[in-house]
């Protein structure tokens, strides 16, 4: 197993077209598709996330890296499936009922994909039933997002509505705090997209 430096750099720098062409070349050359994903692309996303946490990269850099990652995944996904590759976990994310602000939610969804999760993007304005469907569809972690104090209280209704569904529930968004997560019995809280990935891994016992 080896890291492809050019691919790693292309994901890290958000060079979507370079990512596509390098991935295509590697696939054509018969490189193991899991190796392409695990050794070059996922490490690049982990690095951009860590740089963000260290204030060395910002939201736009993270967004374009995630977009470049997606360009690679578009090519790799069907091949990974054929190869029997399993995602590290299945998660669902959506903004809560009444909230249409999805910049943060989209970024978290992309970072989760970039970390190797299968992500069900439920979109915006999600009611309890929508999250329930995701749990029924196999989601092991449900992530709730809200930007407004007007819509944030709906998170409590979701947690009550899901009851002991077996899935872990993580919350985030501008007005959300750890205190609020504790108050409503959420399993975790994150204040940015990189820690959201860590929280999802912790929730599934993939990280400590």
């Amino acid at each position: 197993m080896a890291k492809n430096e050019a691919l790693y750099e292309a994901v890290l720098k958000g060079k979507r077209k370079d990512v596509s062409s390098i991935v295509n070349e590697l696939v054509a050359a018969g490189t193991n598709v899991e190796e392409i994903l695990m050794e070059s692309m996922i490490p690049a996303m982990a690095e951009i996330g860590d740089r963000f946490s260290r204030n060395e990269a910002y939201v736009p850099e993270m967004l374009i890296a995630a977009r470049a990652m997606q360009a690679g995944l578009d090519i790799l996904d069907p091949l990974l499936q054929e190869a029997g590759h399993e995602p590290i976990g299945k998660v669902a994310i959506g903004t809560v009922k009444g909230d249409l602000h999805d910049i943060g939610k989209n970024l978290v969804a992309m970072m989760l994909k970039g970390a190797g999760f299968e992500v069900m993007d439920l979109g915006v304005d999600c009611d309890v039933d929508k999250y329930k469907e995701a749990v029924d569809g196999g989601a092991q972690v449900i992530l709730l997002s809200a930007l407004l104090t007007t819509t944030m209280p709906y998170m409590k209704e979701v947690i009550e509505g899901l009851g002991n569904c077996g899935a872990k529930i993580l919350i985030g968004g501008a007005p959300v705090t750890q205190e609020y997560a504790d108050e409503i019995g959420a399993d975790g809280y994150s204040d940015d997209a990189n820690t959201a990935v860590k929280s999802a891994k912790i929730a599934l016992g993939l990280a400590a």
Partner: protein, 248 residues
Amino acid sequence: MKFKLISCEIFFREMEFLLEQSPHAIDVEFLQKGLHDIPTEEMLKRLQAQVDKASEQDYDAILLGYGLCNNGLVGLRARGVQLILPRAHDCITLFFGSRKKYQAYFDANLGTYFLTTGWIERDEVAEELKELSIPNQLGMDMTYEQLVEKYGEDNAEFLKEELCDRGKNYSQITFIEMGVEPDDRFEKIAREEAASKQWNYEKVAGDLTLIRCLLNGNWNPEDFLVVPPGAKISADHTEQIVTINTDT
């Protein structure tokens, strides 16, 4: 009675109109619009400084022309003078005159951007606040040209849509007519903005009741939080919106 009003300038015309009618002596301090976009501790710091200053004088109450405002008022402490805060998430409740009316309208009209005279004529964010503004720090205020220069054309298109489109998922402008407008110029601007974005446009009648009650001293507990000296404002995540925290 003698009050001090510390208010967001977004209510400038409404306050000016109602201050003339209040039976009380009210000193007024308007603060810049846009404090809800800076970190909550920064908004709190600015408001606390105003409250502290006013508390040195002999007022019967300090009236807050604010709502919870993205939690920017959480932790605001009354010193020697009681604080009066409308139970509201944000200014739109005060324009609607009732948080129930606002909630009902919000639920029935998702994706609505509200405009009033204040939101039209005081929409410029002060330079000093721009640097602290979270949307600005996230890159949301970057122009297309700046994005191209920094991230290349291919990524600029994407970022413009994904990060910098403030109207993303919005589909309506609602102009709240408060009865303090000098003429129809504001309504016209609102209607034209909706048309230029190809959004739905609606005009609704506002209601000055809450602001009038604030200024007139009619602070019924259903609509107002009265914070006694020494206590702090806290968010309570229920329909009451705010509550008192007596922790020291």
